[in-house]
Every structure is written in structure tokens, then in C-alpha cells.
């Protein structure tokens, strides 16, 4: 029989049972849109994470202490980065554009009668705003002279400034951090969450003040002030690997450790992106499996309804056989019905999937990116599901004996 005729017969069968056809398609619609939405969500998450990491600044290398080896109170002269390491890198390594140091603490911050506990205090240096891509909204950032003289000045994150001073202009006001009074000299533009850190809810001050007021230690008097992190911004055209090697050699020498067992870790932005991708890949695989299962359930739904349909329409099959339909004609009719259901369901699923992805992105905080290949994947799986789960009921219909079928009530 001609394809055209088969499609005509099959579509007549479906149109005459609109509600049942729609309910049958529902499983496939949900399955296909689930595949597309899930993949769009995970692709969106990946894009967001990689954007965040890039927004830390460009061409950065991060040097951190390796506490798994030595650590505090371990071997006397190792287990941490110190403030002077930063100067050593800036002076002794070629291809370095800027070096920024961070040290953190957490204190109670008061302004007027407002008091906030456990506010993150970040001590840092002059290059911080440029390395981290942060803009000043009001006032100014602190300079090298203020760092050198341990000036009690702070720059506030945007949401923190709002909480402390509400409508009043913060610049020029006084805040008390722990027991020390500071003058607010600036407020940062809103930055948002990067990774897990809320950049808008922090206090920024000269790193020397943090050493002096919040992280004094016996260790510091002898070895220098410990720092959490050193950012090294590279010159645009240098080879990253060369600079990293220089830093490694220099720090190994300064800390008197071997390169095989360093007391520091050097990571690049690419490393961070790779780590994040490994996590999101697991996430994406999980979502893909969930979506695949829902598509499978949709297929089983088709088989279910087709089986019921064959039983319910036994008489119809008998009538068709009596006027000359061969077993193949019947098989093709039911197989095509199943295929049409899954294809039309797949098409509707693609539309709702793309629409749903857009809606998730528009309404929620979530970012979604519709991946074209996911549409192809979902649609072709729907077709495969239709053929696979449609074949058995179709074959059952084809095997019916015309006399039995005509007698069926």
C-alpha cells in the first residue's frame, strides 16, 4: 500500500479518538520537553559558572597555601603563604602585571544603632578592584599610602552599605568593626554572587590593618603575616606555564620545600572551569537519565494505549480484513498510528520544551540555554520509542483472525 494511504488511514483512526490520542501523546510530550528543559538548565548552569569564573578577572593565576602538607605548626618554615611572598613574586618573576593579596576575617560591624554579626572582612591591596573587575560606585578605593600606614579606612560592598546606612550616604560615615573605628571612603558597585561568595556583603580594607587588628599571631612576628590567597595577574602575551614555573621555583626556594612536595597550590582559571565542568557534567548526566526515563515511560504509555486500542477496535480490524485489508495493511495502520502519536507528541514536546526553557529563564533566577542537538535527540528518541513500543500491538492486530475479529463485541 502507498505511504500516503497508510498515513491517511492511521490519521483518520487518531482523529476519530481525539481525547485518547491526546492523552497518549501526553507521555511523549512530557518526556520530550523534559529532555529539552533539563539539558537547557544544565547548559545554562554551565554557561553561568564559566561566566562567573571569567568575571573574576582575566588571565589570573591563584596561589594558595597547601594545608594538607605541613600546615600550621607543621614544619617551622613552611605551610603557608606570607605577605612578603607577594612582593617576591612581583619583583622576581617576569611577565607579571600585578599581584594582589587577600586575607580574611570575620567580625561584628556596627554603624549607629545597627549591628551585624559575622560580617566577612577582606584585607587586600591596591590592585584588587582591577584584578577582580570591581567598580567603585561612590567615593574611592584605598591607595598604597593608606595600606603602608595602616589607615583605618574601609570600602563597603553595596548590599552591606545599604543595610548599615539605609538612605544616608555612607561615604564619610564611621563604622565600628570589632572594637576599632573606621571611616568609610567608598562603596563598590553591585557584583553579586561569584561561586559561593557574596561580594556585596563584605567589608574591604587595607590588608595591613587586617594583619594588625584581626589576625595577629606569634608566627607573624617571625615569619611574616600569613595570607590566604595571592592573585597574580599576567601580562597579556606571556606563556602562562612559564610564569607558573617561575612562581613555583621562587616559592619553593623561599619556603625551602621541594617542587614535588610544595606547601602551596597554584591554580588557573582554566583549572577552576575544569573542576566546575566535572561537577556539572555529573549533574547533567543525572538530568539526562531522568529525562530519558520519562521518555521511556511515555513510550510504555503509547504501548499501553495501543494495546487497549487494538482490543477495543478488534471489530474494526475484522471489518477492514473482510473488505480486503491484509495482515501487513493492519500492521502498518497501527504502527503508523503509534509513530504519528509519538511524532506529533514529539513536535508538541519540542515546542513546550523550548517555551518552557525560555519561561524558566525568564521567570526564575535560573539561566537556560536551549541546545539544538537536544531537540534532535529528544525528537528522534520519541520516534524510536513510537516504533519500538508500537510494533508489538500492531503485530498483535495483524495476527487477528478475521472471523474471530468480526464476532468480537
Amino acid at each position: 500500500m502507498k505511504l500516503e494511504k497508510i498515513i491517511k488511514i492511521a490519521s483518520q483512526g487518531l482523529v476519530r479518538n481525539k481525547l485518547r490520542s491526546l492523552l497518549t501523546m501526553l507521555g511523549v510530550i512530557i518526556g520530550v520537553s523534559a529532555v529539552i528543559i533539563m539539558i537547557a538548565i544544565s547548559a545554562g548552569t554551565e554557561a553561568m559558572i564559566s561566566d562567573q569564573i571569567t568575571s573574576l578577572g582575566t588571565n589570573l593565576v591563584f596561589v594558595q597555601a597547601n594545608f594538607s602538607r605541613g600546615g600550621f605548626g607543621g614544619e617551622a618554615n613552611s605551610g603557608g603563604l606570607v605577605y612578603d611572598d607577594a612582593f617576591a613574586i612581583a619583583d622576581g618573576v617576569s611577565g607579571v602585571q600585578a599581584v594582589v593579596v587577600e586575607q580574611q576575617s570575620s567580625e561584628t560591624v556596627k554603624a549607629g544603632n545597627i549591628s551585624l554579626d559575622s560580617i566577612s572582612i577582606l584585607g587586600t591591596t591596591e590592585g584588587f578592584p582591577s584584578v577582580r573587575d570591581m567598580e567603585i560606585a561612590e567615593g574611592r578605593y584605598f591607595n598604597q599610602a593608606e595600606i603602608d600606614r595602616n589607615q583605618k579606612v574601609v570600602v563597603l560592598g553595596s548590599s552591606l552599605a545599604e543595610e548599615l546606612f539605609e538612605d544616608q550616604p555612607p561615604v564619610g560615615q564611621t563604622v565600628t568593626i570589632g572594637t576599632t573605628k573606621f571611616t568609610v571612603i567608598g562603596v563598590f558597585e553591585e557584583k553579586g554572587l561569584v561561586g559561593e561568595v557574596d561580594y556585596d556583603a563584605r567589608v574591604y580594607m587595607p590588608i595591613t590593618v587586617v594583619f594588625q587588628k584581626y589576625t595577629p599571631s606569634q608566627f607573624a612576628r617571625i615569619m611574616g603575616d600569613r595570607v590566604r590567597l595571592i592573585y597574580v595577574e599576567l601580562e597579556p602575551d606571556v606563556v602562562q606555564g612559564d610564569v607558573i614555573l617561575q612562581i613555583e621555583l621562587l616559592l619553593a626556594k623561599l619556603h625551602d620545600v621541594s617542587l614535588e612536595e610544595p606547601d602551596f597550590i597554584i591554580t588557573t582559571q582554566q583549572d577552576l572551569i575544569n573542576t566546575q565542568e566535572a561537577t556539572t557534567e555529573a549533574f547533567r548526566n543525572l538530568l539526562a537519565w531522568v529525562a530519558a526515563v520519562s521518555l521511556l515511560v511515555g513510550g510504555i504509555g503509547i504501548m499501553n494505549i495501543m494495546m487497549v486500542s487494538v482490543t477495543e477496535r478488534t471489530r474494526e480490524i475484522g471489518i477492514r480484513q473482510s473488505v480486503g485489508a491484509s495482515p501487513n495493511d493492519i500492521r502498518w495502520q497501527f504502527l503508523t498510528e503509534a509513530l504519528l502519536l509519538s511524532l506529533v507528541g514529539g513536535l508538541i514536546g519540542v515546542i513546550t520544551g523550548v517555551g518552557g526553557s525560555w519561561l524558566f529563564g525568564a521567570l526564575g533566577e535560573m539561566r537556560t540555554v536551549v541546545v539544538p542537538s537536544s531537540i534532535m535527540l529528544a525528537f528522534s528518541s520519541a520516534a524510536a520509542v513510537g516504533i519500538f513500543f508500537g510494533y508489538y500491538p500492531a503485530d498483535k492486530a495483524a495476527q487477528l483472525d478475521p472471523i474471530e475479529a468480526l464476532r468480537h463485541e
Binding site: 471489518i319 480486503g324 478475521p402
Partner: protein
């Protein structure tokens, strides 16, 4: 009636030799047909009667190519169809036979015209285009007097009208044989008479009709009455008063 049809008038359209149908195995064996030899000529109108279990339904199924005999031979319009496979039997049903059932057996929720077009959909010798199919189906519906009901669905038709749609469907492929299985069984007597008048008219126009019935009044319309008993032909008589 064409000249050609008149010339082969006396040729048997149905010829069976020692047709036997056995159901079941061993002790549970049932001989539904037990060596039936029969000839039905072109343009005969035959009624098959008999009590239930006499084998008349089995005979109809084999004559209608819905079933195959266990042994014996069945020649339909000079073609031996005794042991054709399912696909070939489907082709014979499509091209040579028109069925009329007791319960009409129309496709539900399907307009009369589409029901009548159904055999054309499965037709294998030369596909007709949509327009030709419509024309043929329309002509068949006109022939049964239902030209004004073509868009009605079966549930919107009376029993008599539904049976006439079924007859139109039986006619649409110009079959050599019309098989009617209790065609008036579900109808009141007035509709029943109308249907019998229609079958008589078709017979007068040249159709060969074999009809199963258990009502003597209905059998009166046929030229010849064959009675079955226990899987064999009991009597085979001409109806003197019905048709010359």
C-alpha cells in the same frame, strides 16, 4: 447486464468439491463441514438455511475467503482459492466478494461515504485517485438510494439505512459474489422487506447473491434454497414461486 455477462451466464461462479472443515483435535474433533460439493451459477440468488451447528456459518466463512477448508476444493470465478495464504485471500475478498453482515459492521464515527470507500482503500489493482474513489462510492450510495445521507455517521442512521450503506460498500468494488449473512436479522419487518427488495433488484441487475438466513419468509426471496444439516447438504431446491 452486459453481453459478456450473458454469455458466461451458465458458468458456475462457485464450485466446491468435497469441502471439509474440521475443528479441534483427537476426541474433541468437530466436523463442521463434511464433504460439501456445490455449484452456484452466475446471477443465481441462493439462500442457505439450517439449524445452528449445521455448518452453514462455516460454509459462509469459506465461501467468503475468511477461512480455509481442511480438505476439498473451492473454485471461485474459475480461480482455485482453496489454499491461498492470508494475503492472497485478502486480495480475493477485496476484488471478488462483497459482504453484508447481520450487524451492518460499519466503522463507527465514520461518515457513510468513507465507509463505502473502505474497500477502495485496500484495492490493489490500479490505485484510484481521491476523486475517482469519491465518485465510485457516491454511485454505490446512489444505487442503494442514500445519496442524501453520505455525510451521516452510522449512529445517525436507522438500521435499514445502515444496512443499505453496508450493501453499497459490498457493491463498490464490483464483486462477482455478494455474501449476505442474516442481512435482515437486526431489522424490523418493514426495513427487512426494503433490504430484500434492494437485494432482489441487485440480483435482477446481474449480481450473484448467497444469503444465510433462518427465516422462511426471507428465504422466499431467493431462487434456490439449500438446507444444511450436520455439515452436509440436506436439501437443495428451487423456489418455484419466487423468481422466473
Amino acid at each position: 447486464m452486459t453481453v459478456e455477462q450473458e454469455n458466461i451466464m451458465d458458468q458456475p461462479i462457485i464450485k466446491t468439491k468435497e469441502l471439509t472443515k474440521i475443528y479441534g483435535m483427537g476426541d474433541a474433533q468437530v466436523r463442521a463441514l463434511d464433504g460439501v460439493s456445490l455449484e452456484i451459477k452466475e446471477n443465481e440468488f441462493v439462500a442457505i438455511m439450517g439449524p445452528s451447528g449445521s455448518g452453514k456459518s462455516t460454509m459462509m466463512n469459506i465461501l467468503g475467503c475468511l477461512d480455509r477448508p481442511t480438505s476439498g476444493q473451492y473454485v471461485l470465478a474459475e480461480q482455485d482459492v482453496s489454499y491461498l495464504d492470508k494475503v492472497q485471500l485478502a486480495i480475493i475478498r477485496n476484488q471478488r466478494i462483497g459482504f453484508v453482515f447481520q450487524s451492518y459492521n460499519l466503522l463507527p464515527r465514520t461518515p457513510a461515504l468513507e465507509n463505502v470507500m473502505l474497500p477502495l482503500l485496500y484495492s490493489r489493482n490500479g490505485d484510484l485517485n481521491e476523486y475517482e474513489q469519491h465518485e465510485k462510492a457516491l454511485n454505490a450510495l446512489k444505487a442503494v438510494g442514500l445519496a442524501d445521507r453520505i455525510h451521516h455517521q452510522p449512529q445517525e442512521l436507522s438500521g435499514g439505512q445502515a444496512q443499505r450503506v453496508a450493501i453499497a460498500r459490498a457493491l463498490v468494488n464490483n464483486p462477482v459474489l455478494i455474501l449476505a449473512d442474516e442481512p435482515t436479522g437486526n431489522l424490523d419487518s418493514k426495513s427487512g422487506e426494503e433490504i430484500m427488495a434492494l437485494l432482489t433488484e441487485l440480483h435482477q441487475q446481474g449480481s450473484t447473491i448467497v444469503m444465510v438466513t433462518h427465516e422462511d419468509e426471507i428465504a422466499e426471496f431467493a431462487q434456490r434454497v439449500i438446507r444444511f444439516l450436520d455439515g452436509r447438504i440436506d436439501t437443495d431446491k428451487l423456489n418455484g414461486n419466487s423468481y422466473q
